[in-house]
């Protein structure tokens, strides 16, 4: 497929450009890694404090929860690497009218908006998540098979896709409201709950919404359960895959609808 290789070429160029840009501010680059590592440490500290007062939360042992926090970090940091900066930027593109320029490029506009900047530093933080995953698996005495690692990669991709589609959907609201930083901030709050064990939530509206509408309680829980070998049934990972597809379709429909409402701000 020539178009696929063309897009790969464009993406490679964008990554190269991001790297050059990043290396202009080396100290800042390192400081951002420190910031993300600190917040990761904070999550682990919170869980450590909780497990100082209990042996299990809703059937999850201490190292299983650490594994979950690690999985969540891994997915979230990959999401940061690829998309977060770009999606938070959409409201500015609209406010300043820079979007016009992107709409005129002979490339899919959604692709350009989504991957323009590649945050290489967050890969380091994703690796920290991976280290915690491996360490907690060792503590649990679980050795996943190759097939399970592959399955893990697939459900992580599905989780990544859920985050991407939902945040893209939220960012599209800025086609209507000019100041939309609050929306981005709102998404931070949403994905904060992804690192908690789904079983801790009583069956009710809250758990249903965050499983079947905004599937935050699937994105990190399913990968963690898969590695810890505690998936109750294949329905759990099928649910995540299904929701990933559904979220993407809805976000694409909303994007097309939003574009029709775009009135440029530039001259």
């Amino acid at each position: 497929m020539p178009s696929l290789s063309r897009y790969a070429g464009i993406y490679a160029a964008l990554i190269r450009y991001s790297l050059i840009h990043e290396m202009q501010f080396k100290v800042n680059f390192l400081l951002w890694i420190v910031v993300e590592a600190l917040w990761f440490g904070l999550q682990l500290a919170f869980m450590t404090v909780l497990y100082g007062h209990t042996d299990q939360i809703a059937g999850w042992s201490r190292w299983e929860v650490v594994l979950l926090v690690g999985c969540n970090q891994f997915i979230q940091q990959l999401f940061h690497t690829l998309f977060v900066t770009n999606l938070s930027n959409l409201s500015e593109l609209i406010r300043k009218g820079t979007l016009d320029l992107l709409l005129l490029q002979p490339v899919n506009t959604r692709f350009l908006i989504s991957v323009k900047k590649f945050e290489i530093g967050n890969i380091i933080n994703a690796l920290m998540g991976l280290v915690v995953i491996v360490y907690s698996l060792a503590q649990l005495g679980r050795v996943p098979t190759l097939a399970q690692w592959l399955g893990f990669a697939v459900v992580c991709l599905a989780g990544l896709s859920v985050h991407y589609s939902l945040m893209f959907l939220l960012a599209c609201i800025s086609f209507w409201t000019v100041r939309a930083q609050g929306i981005v901030w709102g998404y931070y709050n949403l994905f904060n709950i992804a690192r908690l064990p789904a079983e801790a939530f009583p069956r009710g509206a809250y758990r249903a919404v965050f499983t079947w509408v905004l599937p935050m309680l699937l994105v990190s829980n399913v990968p963690a359960k898969l590695l810890a070998q505690r998936l109750a049934s294949p329905w759990e990972w099928l649910a995540l895959l299904g929701m990933a597809v559904a979220c993407f379709v809805v976000s694409e429909l909303f994007w097309r609808f939003s574009l029709r409402h775009y009135t440029s701000a530039s001259a």
Partner: protein
């Protein structure tokens, strides 16, 4: 954003001061009113992780015998703690102030304060106060709604004077919060991008202020060590005053004073580095 540019009438120094900063206050209120929808979203979204934390604690208590305590907290007291933290936080948290101060320095807007009889710290404090007034009134809607659903858990102040003391403590917490944010933002005089410092500071604040969990469920030594830092006086202490668990305002007052002096000192050192970009 243009600050007040005219003095209405020759008046006595005190009424003059009042009219000057009174103008700043009302201007701040008008400017932040623009953000009201943003604030509403922010306050409402903020309740999602709060509810999650409460569910998590309920799951932990569910495995223990009824009425059991963790640290010195029963389930109801634990829930109350988080609800009160949310209330204090919506009254005192800095919203955009630190980013705006950093931007004032970066794009040279600070220059006009060197030429006008207007103190930058007092000016920003007025804007912070007006921002807080608007944010608190907007956040009141979703927060009150949430509190209503959790009302069985919400305990009243420990003593009759509790309201007054807690309010006093919240006011001081607000001042402390502002001085800390102001000082971190002033680092813009030296570094290109201050946001990393804002986030690093905030990470420590999030843990040590008691935002994440009440500090006295930590091992005793660590808990007492943290009480010597300024952070507990932002949330943990005012909430503790309300619950009748904390007393003695001396340390809180001392930290407000120290933070003010540091803010002044950093400002004066920063001005020596200032190059007035954009004039």
């Amino acid at each position: 954003m243009t600050p007040v540019t005219h003095n209405p009438l020759p008046t006595t120094p005190s009424t003059h001061l009042w009219s000057k900063y009174g103008h700043v206050l009302s201007m701040g209120i008008q400017n932040t009113l623009v953000y009201r929808t943003n604030f509403l979203f922010r306050a409402a979204f903020g309740l999602v992780p709060l509810a999650a934390t409460l569910f998590l604690w309920e799951a932990i208590y569910a495995d223990k015998p009824a009425g059991a305590a963790i640290g010195a907290y029963t389930l109801a007291q634990m829930v109350s703690y988080y609800l009160l933290v949310t209330v204090v936080d919506s009254i005192t948290a800095v919203a955009e102030d630190d980013w705006q101060i950093a931007a004032d320095i970066k794009d040279g807007a600070v220059s006009q304060f060197l030429l006008k009889p207007l103190d930058f710290l007092a000016y920003r404090l007025c804007l912070y106060l007006s921002g807080r007034v608007i944010y608190t009134s907007v956040a009141l809607i979703p927060v009150a709604f949430f509190l209503f659903f959790q009302r069985e858990y919400l305990v009243g102040p420990a003593e009759s004077l509790g309201w007054v003391l807690a309010l006093l403590s919240v006011l001081m917490a607000g001042l402390l919060q502002f001085f800390i944010a102001y000082t971190v933002a002033l680092l813009s005089f030296w570094v290109l991008d201050v946001s990393t410092f804002i986030f690093i500071q905030f990470a420590f604040e999030f843990l040590a202020s008691g935002h994440l969990f009440p500090l006295d469920i930590l091992p005793d030594g660590l808990h007492r060590l943290l009480l010597w830092s300024p952070y507990p006086y932002l949330l943990y202490f005012p909430v503790g005053v309300y619950l009748g668990r904390m007393q003695g305002f001396a340390l809180q007052l001392a930290w407000v004073g120290v933070a003010f002096l540091i803010a002044r000192f950093v400002w004066s050192r920063g001005l020596r580095k200032y190059t007035a970009v954009g004039g």
